[in-house]
Every structure is written in C-alpha cells, then in structure tokens.
C-alpha cells in the first residue's frame, strides 16, 4: 500500500515483521491462556473501565499478535482487575492474570 503521508483515519497498517516472537512466547509461558482467546469480545462488553475509557482485552490480544504492543498496553492501562471479564469469558481464560502478565512482559524494557 502506498503511504501518502496523510489519511482520514488513523493508519491500521500492520507490520508483522515487527512481531516479537520471543516476548509472545514469554507471555504464553506465564499465561498460556493467551493462545486460546477466540476474540469474541465478551470481556470488552462487560468491562467496568471500558465504560469510561477505551479498554479492551480482546483488542489488546489482537494488538500483540499484530505487533503493536504499545497499543495493547494502552488498551489495558485503565483496567481495574475487577474480574468481570473472567466471569463471562466463554473460553475460561484467566483474564486477570493475562492482563497482569501482558503488562508485566510488554512494559519491561
């Protein structure tokens, strides 16, 4: 795709070359549930923080896979760890630990 240097919407361009496999494996080792997310978005629908500011675990997981870890962290920074997402997750993902682990792994320099 040609980059004209401007656009009407923020760029949604992905660069999978930047995908950090090592960090992803590190994350998957401390919280393997990251692999089983099916991106249904139930977590985002019930999110306490999501009502007030953009917060989405679903998007965070997608962002990580799309090599945008900064965006993923942004998606989770408002999380209050209330655990509603773990109550609704159809895959039984340990969402609270996943959120903590993503923050831990990807905010480490």
């Amino acid at each position: 795709m040609v980059d004209f240097g401007f656009g009407l919407v923020p760029s949604s361009r992905m660069n999978l070359d930047l995908f950090d496999k090592e960090k992803y494996e590190e994350l998957a080792e401390i919280e393997p549930d990251v692999r089983i997310c099916m991106a249904c978005g139930s977590c985002t629908a019930v999110c306490t923080a999501g009502k007030y500011t953009r917060t989405s675990l679903r998007e965070a997981i997608e962002d990580i896979k799309n090599a945008k870890p900064e965006k993923a962290l942004e998606m989770l920074r408002a999380c209050q760890l209330c655990g509603k997402c773990s109550m609704v997750c159809p895959r039984g993902i340990n969402t609270r630990h996943l959120i903590l682990s993503i923050t831990k792994v990807y905010s480490a320099k």
Partner: protein, 654 residues
C-alpha cells in the same frame, strides 16, 4: 574436699538431698551445653535483628503495647491458650490437641519443676557460674537422696516429674503413630518434613525415652516415683545389682544437644518464635514486607503442622498440595523466589488456612505482601476515575440516570437533581452484582417491601471497589479507586451504605474509613429489617443450606445475621463444614493463576459439602458464589437433581 560424713554432721538439719558431685559437673553435659548455648545465641541475635527490621513507629507501638492492661491480658491469655495448652487444636481435633499439649505442656512443666526442685533443695546450683545452665536439666544425675529423710515435699516432686514424663511419653507415642496413620488423629495430609525437620524430629522423639532410661537407671540413688522406680526395679531384675547409667545420660544429653542445634533450621523454631509473634500480633502490627520484620516472626512461628493442608480448598486435587501455606512459608524461609511467587499467585485467598492455623499465621496476608512486591509497580492510568464517579451519578428508585450524558457531553454532574437529594440509605451493587442482576432485582424488591428510602449508587455501572486490585497486590492503584469511590459516597450524604457483594463489603469496611457512615452488608441490613418488623416474612418448610462466602464469613466475621434471617423464611440445614470451615466456591478473585478446570473441581467439592444434609436450596450472599454454584449445578444436572442455587435476597423477598 570435705568428706561426706563430716559434711553431713556439720549440717544442723539433715538435708533431704545431697549434692553427690561437688563440682556439679560431668563430661556428659557437654553436648547439651553446646546445643543450648548455640541456640540461645541464635535466638538472641535473631530477636534483635527481627526487631530492628520493624519500622520505628511499629517498634514503639510494640513496646508500648506491653504495658497496656488490655493487651497484657490478651497476651497472657494467648500465650497460655496457644503456646502451652493449644486450645485451638483441642477444639478442632482433640486427639491432636492431646498429642501436642502433652509434648509442649509436659516438657514445659518438667523444665519448670526441675528448676523448682533445684531452687528448693540445692539453691546454689541455680547460679549459671555453678552449672545453672545444665544442672536443673540433669538434676537427677547430680544428687543423692538421703535415704530415710525423704519428706512429703520431695515425694511430691518425684511424683509430679514422673507424671509429666509419662504424659509426654504418651504424646510422643501418638506422634510416632501419627507418622504412619495420621488420619486417626484427624489429619488427611501431613507436611513432608525437610532434612532439619527430620533431625529435630527424631532427636525430639528420642529425648524423652532416653530421659526415662537415664532417670530409671539412677532412680535407686536419686530417687523417683511410680514410673522411674518401677522401671529401675525391672533393670535390677534384668541386669543384677550393678547398673551402668552413664551411657544413658550421655545419650540423653546428645539428643538434647542435637535437637537444640537443629531447632533454628527446623519447624520446631515455632516453640519460641510463637511467643514473639503473639506479642507482635496482639500489638496490632501488620507485615509490610513478605520476608522482613513482623513477617519473619510469622514465618518462624509456623509450626509446619500441616493443618492448612486439609483446610486448603485447592487440595481436593493432590497436585495442588504444594501450593499450601505451609510450603509457602517454608520457601519464604529459604528465599526461594521463584517458588514463592508461584505459590503466592495460586492461592484463592479464602483465608481458611489463617482461620484454622493454631498459631494464627496470616499466610494470605504474606501472599498479598509478596504480590505487592511484584505487581504494585506495574503501570496504570486511572485519570478517568474522577469523571467516572461523582455524586451526580446517584439515582433514586426508578429514576434513570443521566451520568452517561454528563460524562460524554461535558455536563456538570452537579446539575443532576439526584445529587441534591440526601438519601439515608445508599445501595452500592458493585461490578459482580451487575453481572447477576437477579440480586439487584431482589434487593430492590426487599427495599420496596420494607419501605426503605434509598439511592442507587451505581445503577448504570460504577467503578470497582478496589478489593480485586488489593488482592492482586496493586495497592497503589487500589488507593486511587478507593479515593474516587470514597468521594462519591461522602458527597452523597448517606448515613448507611448497603453492599450486596462481600468483596466490596470487606474493603469498604477496612480501607475506606467512612466517617459517620454505617457500612453494612445486605444480609445484616435485611436481618435488621426483619428483626425490627419492617419487613414481613413468612416461614416455609423449604430446606435451605447457607454457604458462607469467604470474604463475608472469614473475611468480615458475618456468620450470624444471614442465618438468623434465613431461619425466618425456611428450614436451615447444616452443611458438612460451616462457618469458618466453609469451603470456597472456587470462583474467588483471589487466585491469579488457578485455571478453570481446577476451579471446577473446587466448586464440586464445595457443593458436595453443602449438600451433606440434602437441602433443596443453596443460598449464598455473594454474586461470585451465586454464579459459580449456578454454573456448577447446571453443568452436572444429573448429579445435582432438584437443587437450586439462590441469592439471599431472592429467598427473603419471595
């Protein structure tokens, strides 16, 4: 040296006891003396180091607490009740209580009586420079009874010493038996002893039989009572007149010395650390670090008895035994950082191990402190909180709230008319309750039936109470959430805050410090409504079992009110384990890493526990338990036929 007969003649009164060995020393005391000296040095240095690691304010508070009459009484009560008589073990497992108090109290009495004997008959020997360190311990070796001059006083001590020795030996017998068949004494699982534990354990087992041997071999010289003299006659019968007693005194001394050397590295350190921990605990000092200061006293006060193994709900699966509090504390002692974190994150924080701990070691608090060291520094951004929560969001019954409009279009929340209204009762549902709206519906129905004027703090959804953050170790972030909620509640002008989630209730009660506002759980509030006659209820013969949610029961000590209210609407039946022994539903927010399959196993065991007396309805007072149980029941319908899971308010408002 004065010959014995001259010495005797010089005495105006014939002494009852003769100091057989004037030097008051024999080589066999060396192992014991080395052991006890090492131990005393270790504990002295340890105490100083421990107290130095406590923050200054806490230290001052600790010293002051030793002079407050109320604390002194509590200290004495706990020291005697917990350290000597082990009342907490007696209450739950009598045989185990007997075993432990036989060894602890019996040994204590033998040491005390030994010193009293020395003080009465050879007082000069109490002086440390004249053998005071070991003389009272090996008293029977050093003295001769003056034949024909034994008074009633002497016989009385002979009897007591033999009595307590027998008492200890029965305890030791039980302890040895417990190694092979612990279930008989009421323990399904026992702790796997470490190497130091084993050394200390086996030498402890040997100490008292060897003492019996040593004392019985010398009993015809030094005197004795029913036990030692009886055994002495037996030896004479076996070996004739000449008895070689020195080897047994050597063996007795070696086993004592070995025990004291191994003690600081073994679980038996709790014998003395427990005293310090009780004093610190009663002074109200909380650990700030999972390893240093008060926490260290707590760690070393753990007797590694393993009562927490059977208590832990995770241990329905044997593979989870390694995550129990006893091993957490063992790894804290060993500074095994990796294992510490794994165990700290796994725990459900149901607090049962703390409730059942005979020493009162608060392992969940240590786990939380450990989580703080890992998670508290993780980044977060809560700048949206103040706008999310404001007094403007309050809504009266039936009123739809314009908070969204206020937040999205920049309207001032104060413009909302509900903000001006001063409700007496404020109802805060909390995040979890919003996922189980049947609770909200039932609570509102009850409020309406009782004519309670109330405002709804988070009808359209509020923010979290902060407890989940606290449990995850993000205390700093939790403080932000607490601040925002606190402001909203204080601005509402309410006098009573009603909460339907025990998780919220615990943190509102403990961390919010709401001046002039009564914080109650809805079970308490509704029970008051029934008791005061405001809420009419009718009794049915429905068989109800009540599940104590962890955060409500063990967490906030609310056991009575929900049961009193439920008793008015149905027939309460007992669960197999209730009150502070209730089993977590498995849905707890406390655990960070426990997976769904393990949680399902816990739910199953918790359900089985509740269904012991075949009730028709399981009632709980926590949205998380409600959801977990409902799911578990519907997942295995064939197993749980005709059992329904209901919320407390639902049952009341029928």
């Amino acid at each position: 040296m004065t010959p014995l007969y001259q010495f005797l003649a010089a005495q105006a009164e014939v002494p009852e006891v003769i100091d057989r060995i004037p030097s008051g020393y024999s080589h066999f005391v060396i192992p014991f003396t080395i052991g006890i000296t090492f131990f005393l040095c270790w504990i002295g240095v340890g105490c100083v180091r421990l107290l130095a690691a406590i923050p200054r304010n806490d230290r001052i508070r600790f010293w002051k607490s030793l002079f407050i009459p109320k604390t002194i009484v509590k200290n004495l009560k706990d020291l005697f009740g917990d350290c000597l008589f082990h009342l907490k073990i007696w209450q739950r497992k009598p045989l185990l209580g007997y075993m432990h108090s036989a060894i602890a109290f019996g040994w204590f009495m033998i040491i005390v009586l030994g010193h009293i004997e020395v003080a009465l008959f050879v007082p000069a020997r109490l002086n440390v420079s004249r053998g005071g360190l070991f003389y009272p311990i090996f008293y029977r070796y050093f003295v001769w009874m003056n034949p024909g001059h034994t008074t009633l006083k002497g016989s009385f001590f002979f009897f007591l010493m033999d009595f307590f020795l027998l008492y200890i030996l029965t305890g030791i017998g039980l302890a040895v038996f417990k190694r092979f068949r612990s279930i008989v004494l009421g323990m399904r699982h026992t702790t796997k002893p470490s190497l130091a534990d084993r050394i200390a354990l086996y030498s402890l087992w040997l100490i008292f039989p060897l003492r019996l041997l040593a004392e019985s071999f010398t009993a015809d010289l030094s005197g004795g009572s029913f036990l030692t003299v009886g055994v002495n006659h037996f030896w004479h019968f076996l070996f004739g007149d000449k008895l070689m007693f020195l080897p047994f005194w050597w063996a007795y001394s070696i086993s004592l010395g070995l025990f004291f050397v191994a003690m600081p590295f073994s679980r038996y350190m709790h014998i003395l650390t427990e005293v310090l921990w009780i004093l610190l605990r009663n002074a109200g000092i909380k650990p700030h670090h999972p390893r240093k200061g008060v926490a260290e006293a707590e760690i070393y006060a753990c007797s590694s008895c393993g009562l927490c193994l059977d208590a832990c709900p995770m241990n329905v699966q044997k593979k989870n035994l390694k995550y129990s509090s006893v091993y957490f504390i063992r790894f804290l002692r060993r500074h095994n950082e990796k294992k510490i974190n794994a165990i700290a994150d796994k725990c459900l924080m149901c607090d049962k191990c703390h409730a059942l701990c005979p020493v009162g070691v608060d392992a969940p608090a240590l786990r939380r402190a450990q989580r703080i060291t890992v998670n508290n520094s993780l980044p977060y951004d809560y700048s949206y909180l103040p706008s999310a929560v404001s007094a403007g969001q309050l809504s009266g019954p039936g009123r739809v709230h314009p908070r969204f409009a206020a937040a999205e279009y920049g309207l001032s929340p104060a413009a909302d008319p509900a903000g001006a209204q001063k409700p007496e009762v404020l109802y805060f549902a909390g995040c979890m309750t919003h996922l189980t709206p049947r609770i909200i519906k039932a609570v509102e129905k009850v409020f309406k039936a009782a004519g309670v004027e109330y405002a709804f703090a988070d009808r359209e959804g509020g923010i979290c109470c902060g407890r989940p953050l606290m449990l995850a170790g993000k205390t700093e972030a939790a403080a932000k959430v607490i601040e925002a909620n606190k402001k909203m509640i204080e601005e509402s002008g309410c006098t009573t805050l009603v909460l339907s989630c025990p998780i919220c209730y615990k943190i509102f009660r403990e961390e919010y410090h709401l001046e002039g506002i009564k914080v109650v759980h809805y079970t308490q509030f509704i029970n008051d409504l029934i008791a005061s006659g405001r809420l009419p209820v009718s009794k049915s013969d429905e068989k109800i079992v009540y599940h104590d949610p962890c955060e409500l029961g063990r967490g906030c000590n609310v056991y009575f009110e929900p049961r009193a209210a439920l008793d008015q609407v149905g027939t309460l039946v007992k669960a197999a384990k209730e009150y502070d022994e209730s089993i977590c539903c498995g849905g707890s927010l406390g655990s960070l890493t426990l997976d769904t399959r393990d949680r399902a196993k816990i739910s199953e065991s918790s359900l089985d526990n509740l269904l012991a007396n075949s009730p028709e309805t399981i009632v709980t007072a926590c949205p998380l338990c409600l959801k977990t149980f409902s799911e578990a029941v519907s997942n295995s319908k064939h197993k749980y036929i005709r059992v329904t899971v209901k919320d407390f308010a639902e049952v009341i408002c029928r």
